[in-house]
């Protein structure tokens, strides 16, 4: 065991922090605030270009596709520092792990450098109105027609579909096969004809949640495909293997810096808040109930950190996840909810004040978190389904 980063990794972290101080300027932040981080304006594009030059995106990816052949832990360090500054670098939903694992040479050469320089981003087209946790029951249909596929169907809760360059789509290619064996993945430009996007507004809209809120997105989407024709080269991996290709990406998607941070950032916030503020003369840092609960939450947050590090350690050793990613995906989101709800009881009525309200605490982040934190236990594998996986894959228990 070794619970420290190497001196080189500490230096990397310092360099990234310095870079952020120097380059994530007020103007950049303003642009992010106006557009949202993943919807890149000119300043953010410029920032990504600089990141790419330094080799900080996709560090663990192969050099031939723009990566550094570096360690997953180095990549984690960069991702964590940027995530703390409100900027997504690689991490969740990049689509890259699956492309690396299953893509053709052409696809890797096209997509990976594009993901690195920020020209390409994916919306994830998994969920459908009738297929959520039970994703494999999805019905969106792709039919081969010569050199093309024709796609019909609907996707639901497709975050980023209104600004992403591409959609990473799961569709059914063989309706006769058992449900996991008839699915394929397609990488499709969003400007393809006959794809339409309709906004779905979340409970974080009006007022907009402040940066860093857990599930603070004001908007997600429905995406409709009506006789959408795409070249067969959009297929990722073999036809009908999409479930397994997707799983490669998802497992890695459940771990990493941004997943970890959305569950623990409020722990740091509340400690720092009660240290530095009082409520009308009441010093919360001296209240013994508050102290006990904060210490408990802090300890749980350390477990979230260590579970993330365990996943990194496993990846680094080239080992396989059996249940570890699922374990993290249960513990961390449920912890985030406990923290969020405890903070409400620590701050009392101040924790209800939303962004922009008179007397809102920390721009209302705690109030907005109450509307979003429970979502992290539903997305990307709900805690119930994750527990099933721990029991079945990790503990060898039978299907129910």
């Amino acid at each position: 065991m070794d619970f420290a980063y190497t001196p080189e990794q500490e230096t990397l972290r310092d360099n990234v922090r310095t870079f952020i101080q120097e380059n994530v300027t007020d103007e950049v932040r303003q642009e992010i605030e106006d557009l949202g981080i993943r919807r890149r304006g000119p300043k953010v594009r410029e920032l990504y270009a600089k990141l790419g030059e330094r080799g900080w995106v996709g560090i663990s990816w192969p050099r031939e596709y723009g990566g550094q052949d570096g360690s997953r832990i180095d990549q984690y360090i960069v991702e964590e520092e940027f995530a703390r500054a409100g900027i997504t670098v690689g991490g969740a939903g990049s689509g890259a792990p699956a492309i690396l694992a299953a893509g053709t040479e052409e696809q890797k050469k096209y997509y990976l450098p594009g993901l690195i320089n920020g020209e390409i981003s994916f919306a994830l087209g998994f969920t459908e109105p009738q297929a959520g946790a039970d994703l494999a029951s999805l019905q969106c249909r792709a039919v081969r027609d010569g050199d093309e596929y024709v796609i019909n169907g609907q996707k639901m809760f497709t975050t980023a579909a209104h600004y992403a360059s591409h959609i990473y789509l799961m569709a059914r290619t063989d309706p006769e096969a058992p449900k996991h064996r008839g699915i394929s993945i397609f990488l499709i430009p969003m400007d393809t004809e006959r794809i339409t996007v309709r906004a779905l507004w979340t409970i974080q809209n009006e007022p907009q949640a402040p940066a860093g809120t857990t599930y603070g997105d004001a908007r997600t989407n429905e995406v409709f495909f009506e006789d959408v024709r795409v070249p067969a080269s959009c297929l990722l991996g073999e036809e009908n293997t999409g479930w397994y290709v997707g799983a490669m990406g998802l497992n890695l998607d459940r771990v990493g810096a941004s997943r970890y941070l959305i569950s623990v950032q409020r722990d740091e916030d509340i400690v720092n808040y009660v240290k530095e503020n009082d409520l009308g003369g009441m010093n919360l840092a001296e209240d013994s109930s508050v102290r006990d609960r904060i210490a408990e939450l802090w300890t749980e947050a350390q477990v979230c950190r260590l579970m993330t590090m365990r996943s990194m350690s496993l990846v680094e050793k080239g080992g396989n996840f059996t249940y570890e990613g699922s374990a993290e995906k249960v513990f961390a989101p449920e912890h985030g909810v406990r923290t969020t709800e405890t903070i409400a009881q620590i701050l009392g009525p101040y924790a209800q004040l939303l962004n922009g309200s008179e007397d809102a605490v920390e721009e209302g982040v705690f109030a907005h978190n109450l509307m979003g934190s429970f979502q992290s236990g539903i997305n990307h594998g709900s805690t119930q389904v994750m527990r099933d996986q721990i029991a079945r894959r990790g503990l060898g228990m039978p299907r129910t």
Binding site: F3, Y5, Q9, V264, E268, D292, K317
Partner: protein
């Protein structure tokens, strides 16, 4: 950064497990609950021969000088096997002597401890069981070449088996110069020492020990006079981290027994392991033990590196207290009525883990230390940073 045991560490752990599975069946733990000494000397000797007692003692004094993490892994396996041996108490005292004792003391005691010829224990808690210097009322006054020690210690582990006991006592009032605590190594057989056995949940060997004007030679002072609190605190932290390892080992075994039972127990026409509500209990048990284990390893590793580890120790123990307890209780639930039966072994683990949650700091005590580290010193906190409980 690699939070998993490396190959060598894993090998030591596996060997320890193999040995204990062969040589330390649950029957032994059961028998020793009724034994006067509380441990089988033959097994103790075997552990010494395997090198376990000296694994983290200094090489100069016959030990192997391996990192504390190795001792932690062995302790974890002993916990898994609920091995009835005075390992924890002996190691806690021996490591304290190794850290703060004089060369003569080390020369005299450590090789014997490593060989299995010397069972040790330590005594801190008193009537007020909080692990703070102000609770210490046992007093030692100087008298020529001796101290005269008087007072009562509570919950002294394995006192009936120990030849010597490291006693935290007051030699001066607390002042700006320090807490006024000293550590004395007392022969358990000295005139004026008496003990009353306590009947405990774990049915282990704990004693209430009375010191009635006991003469302790000045040569038995461990560390500096009046300056024993920092040494005692280190001792408590080390003991706590090792106890966490023991709890993690026992709780994981207990969880595995519950999971196996669920796979075999049929109700409503199928193994209860096929019910989702049972599966989710099992998933939680594993999550909790994993978390407890990661926190414990981090605490041991930091301590071994000589880094401040007070926060990590308290994180580990408060989490172990709450979650290892939840694990062993859940396993009882999975076992239905059987877990409640004396003839069935599960309770051997349940009673021990539960008792260990109250030893070396309750959740409240440890969380109060964590809160001090977080809230009672200036500066922004960030997860992953080094923090320390302020003195």
């Amino acid at each position: 950064m690699d939070v998993l045991p490396n190959e060598e560490e894993q090998m030591v752990k596996n060997l320890a497990r193999e040995f204990l599975e062969a040589e330390c069946p649950p029957r032994l733990a059961r028998d020793m609950e009724k034994d006067d000494l509380g441990y089988p000397p033959e097994l103790w000797k075997q552990l010494a021969d395997l090198g376990w007692l000296g694994i983290s003692l200094p090489e100069r004094y016959g030990g192997q000088g391996l990192p504390l993490t190795y001792l932690g892994l062995i302790t974890e396996e002993l916990g898994r096997a609920i091995a009835p041996v005075p390992f924890h108490s002996t190691m806690v005292a021996a490591l304290t002597i190794a850290a703060a004792g004089s060369d003569d003391q080390k020369q005299d005691l450590l090789p014997r401890a490593g060989r299995g010829d010397l069972v040790l224990t330590w005594a801190f808690s008193e009537e007020n069981p909080r692990l703070l210097p102000e609770t210490i009322q046992c007093q030692a006054v100087e008298d020529g070449d001796n101290f005269i020690l008087s007072g009562t210690k509570m919950f002294v582990d394995n006192f009936v088996a120990a030849e010597k006991c490291l006693v935290a006592c007051r030699t001066a009032p607390a002042s700006d110069a320090g807490a006024g605590i000293s550590l004395l190594l007392v022969d358990a057989g000295s005139t004026g020492v008496s003990q009353i056995p306590l009947t405990t949940l774990a049915k282990d060997k704990q004693s209430k020990v009375n010191f009635n004007s006991v003469r302790v030679p000045k040569a038995n002072l461990v560390g500096e006079l009046h300056q024993g609190w920092p040494v005692a605190q280190q001792m408590l932290d080390r003991g706590t981290a090792l106890l966490c390892a023991q709890m993690v080992g026992a709780a994981r075994k207990d969880a595995e027994m519950g999971i196996d039972y669920a796979k075999n127990r049929v109700a409503f026409g199928r193994p209860i392991a096929g019910f989702q509500s049972i599966q989710h209990i099992c998933a939680d048990m594993i999550l909790w033990v994993d978390g407890a284990q990661l926190l414990t390893y981090e605490a041991l590793w930091k301590m071994d590196q000589g880094l401040p580890a007070s926060m990590e120790v308290s994180q580990a123990k408060s989490f172990c207290n709450d979650k290892c307890e939840a694990v062993v209780r859940s396993s009882q639930v999975l076992h239905g009525g059987m877990g409640f039966m004396m003839e069935f072994d599960l309770h051997l683990w349940y009673r021990r883990v539960t008792a260990w949650t109250m030893r070396l700091g309750t959740s409240f005590e440890h969380r109060s230390r964590i809160a001090r580290g977080l809230l009672d010193q200036p500066g922004h906190v960030r997860l992953g940073m080094n923090l320390e409980v302020p003195a």
